[in-house]
Amino acid sequence: MIAPSLQKYWDGRAAGNFVFGGAGSGLIISTAIATPFNTASMSAALLIGACLIALGLLLVWFEIGRPLRFINVLRNPYTSWMSREAWTAIVLLPLTLAAFALPTRGLVIPAAFVALLFLYCQARILRASAGVPTWRQRGTMALIVTTGLTEGAGLYLLLYATGLIDVLSLPIPLLITAVLFIGGRYATWRSWLHELQGNAPTESLSVMRTFAKQFIVVGHLLPIVLIVVAWLIPAISDIVLAVSGVLVLLSGWTFKTRLILSASHIQGFAIEHTPARGGGRSGPGVKPGWS
C-alpha cells in the first residue's frame, strides 16, 4: 500500500483510553470548578472521574503486546508523553481518591491541576504521533484538551441532573463554564479542521468533513441552547441538562473514536522526483492520497 491507509496499530482499546481518560480528568476539573459552590457534592464525581481514568488505562493494558512488562512504561519520562501520562496517573489517582475520602478544597484543587496535566499528556501523545497526519497537527493539542474539559462538564451536568451528585442548587458558574468549554471546543475544532487542509490525506479529511455538521449541531449548538433553556426555565432544568450533558459527552467520545479509528490514515509514501531511468528524463514527484 503506497497511499495513506488507516492505521491498524491502535484499536478501540487505545481509543478507550482517550475517551474515558479525557472524560474522567475533565470531570475532576469540573468538580473543582463547582466545588466552591457545592462543597458537599464532590465525592461521587471524583470517584467516577478516577474510575473512568483507571478504566482507560486498563484498556491500554489490554492493548499492549507484553502486559506483564507494563511497568516499563515508566522508564522514559524524559521524552515520552506516554510515560509522562503514566507518571501523572500515578499521582492523580491516589490524589483523587484522597479527595473523595476527605472532600476538602485543599485536595480537590490540586487533583484538578494534575487532571489537567493528565489531559495535556493525552493531547501530547497524539501530537507526537508523527506517522498520523491528523494527530500530529499543532491544533490537536488544544482540541483534545478542550474536548476533555467539555466532556467533563457534560458529565457533571448529567450527574447533577440525574441526582447522582448531591447538590443543593444549580451551580450557575459551572453552567457558564460548560458553555465556555463548549465554545472553546468549537473554536479549537474549527481551527484544527482548517489546519488539516493540505496537511492531511484526503481520506482523513473526508471523514472529518462528513462528521463536521453533526458534531457542530449535536455537540455544540444544541447543548448550548439546552443549557440556556435550563437556566431560563428551572422547572424542567433537570431533564434538559441531562440531555445537554449526554449530547456533549457522546459527541466528544464520538469525535475521539473517529479520530483514533476512522480519520487516522498514516502518512503513506512519497517521492520528490521520479527517476530518469536510462536515457529518459526525470519527472515530477508523487504523493498518492494527498490531493
Partner: protein, 216 residues
C-alpha cells in the same frame, strides 16, 4: 564520528525484490513482515506514465520520532546512527508504530508460517520468539556490521560487514556506508548526484537517500 546511511539509486532499481528476499533470509522475518521492501509506484497519465521502484524500510533517522515516543526506552540510537530495539524492554504498546512516518515497524502476535500445514524446518530452527508482541524493524543488519567491525572490516565496502539487502542487489542500486567519511562510496554518490530523502519536511533527518537524476 560515524553515521551509517543507505543510498538507493532510483534510476537503477528494477523492482526485482531480491533485497526483500535477502532480508527475509538474513533476518528470518515471519511471513507478512518485510523489513526491506520495494514499492512499485505508477504515476502520470497516458501516454506520459512512469513506473518507479522505491526501496523502503527503517530510515534510521537522526531524529527518530519512534525513539522520542517510546515509553520503555526499548528504542534507542547508537552513536553510529543506527536505531535499535531492545526486544526485552519493549512492551508492545505500538506508539512507535504510529510515530513512524515510514511504516517501517511491525508487530506480530504469533510465529507465522508460510504454509498451512505446520512450520517448515527452517522456520522452526530460526523462529524468533523474542520478537513476538513487540515492535520490530530493519536493523541495517546490525549484527553483520558489528561482527564485521570486530573483524576489522569496513561496512559498505566489505561484504561481510554490509547489510544483506545491499549485498544482494542485482542492479547495484543500494549502497551502504559512513556518510561522515568523505571517501566512502555513499559520500561520493551523494556528492556527485542529486538526491532527496523521503518526508524530509517532517524533520526526522532520515538516513536513507534516493538518487534520482543519474550521474552529472
Amino acid at each position: 564520528m560515524t553515521r551509517y546511511v543507505m543510498v538507493a539509486d532510483l534510476n537503477r532499481c528494477v523492482g526485482c525484490q531480491t533485497c526483500t528476499a535477502a532480508c527475509k533470509h538474513a533476518n528470518a522475518t515471519t511471513p507478512g513482515v518485510q523489513w526491506r521492501r520495494v514499492l512499485d509506484i505508477e504515476s502520470g497519465e497516458y501516454p506520459d506514465v512512469r513506473r518507479t521502484f522505491v526501496p523502503v524500510g527503517c530510515m534510521h533517522c537522526s531524529e527518530p520520532p519512534c525513539m522520542e515516543v517510546c515509553p520503555s526506552t526499548a528504542t534507542r540510537q547508537r552513536d553510529d546512527g543506527l536505531v535499535t530495539i531492545d526486544y526485552d524492554l519493549c512492551i508492545g504498546c505500538g506508539y512507535c508504530m504510529v510515530a513512524c512516518p515510514y511504516q517501517a515497524r511491525f508487530k506480530v502476535t504469533s510465529i507465522g508460517k508460510a504454509y498451512k500445514n505446520g512450520h517448515m524446518s527452517h522456520e522452526q530452527s530460526r523462529e524468533h520468539r523474542e520478537r513476538l508482541n513487540v515492535a520490530q524493524k530493519c536493523t541495517f543488519c546490525i549484527d553483520r556490521i558489528d561482527a564485521g567491525l570486530a573483524a576489522g572490516l569496513t561496512p559498505g565496502e566489505d561484504v561481510d560487514a554490509t547489510p544483506a539487502c545491499v549485498n544482494s542487489c542485482i542492479a547495484d542500486a543500494l549502497t551502504f556506508g559512513d556518510i561522515e567519511d568523505s571517501d566512502s562510496h555513499v559520500s561520493q554518490l551523494l556528492r556527485e548526484q542529486r538526491s532527496f530523502r523521503m518526508h524530509e519536511e517532517l524533520g526526522t533527518e532520515p538516513g536513507f537517500y534516493y538518487l534520482w537524476e543519474g550521474a552529472s
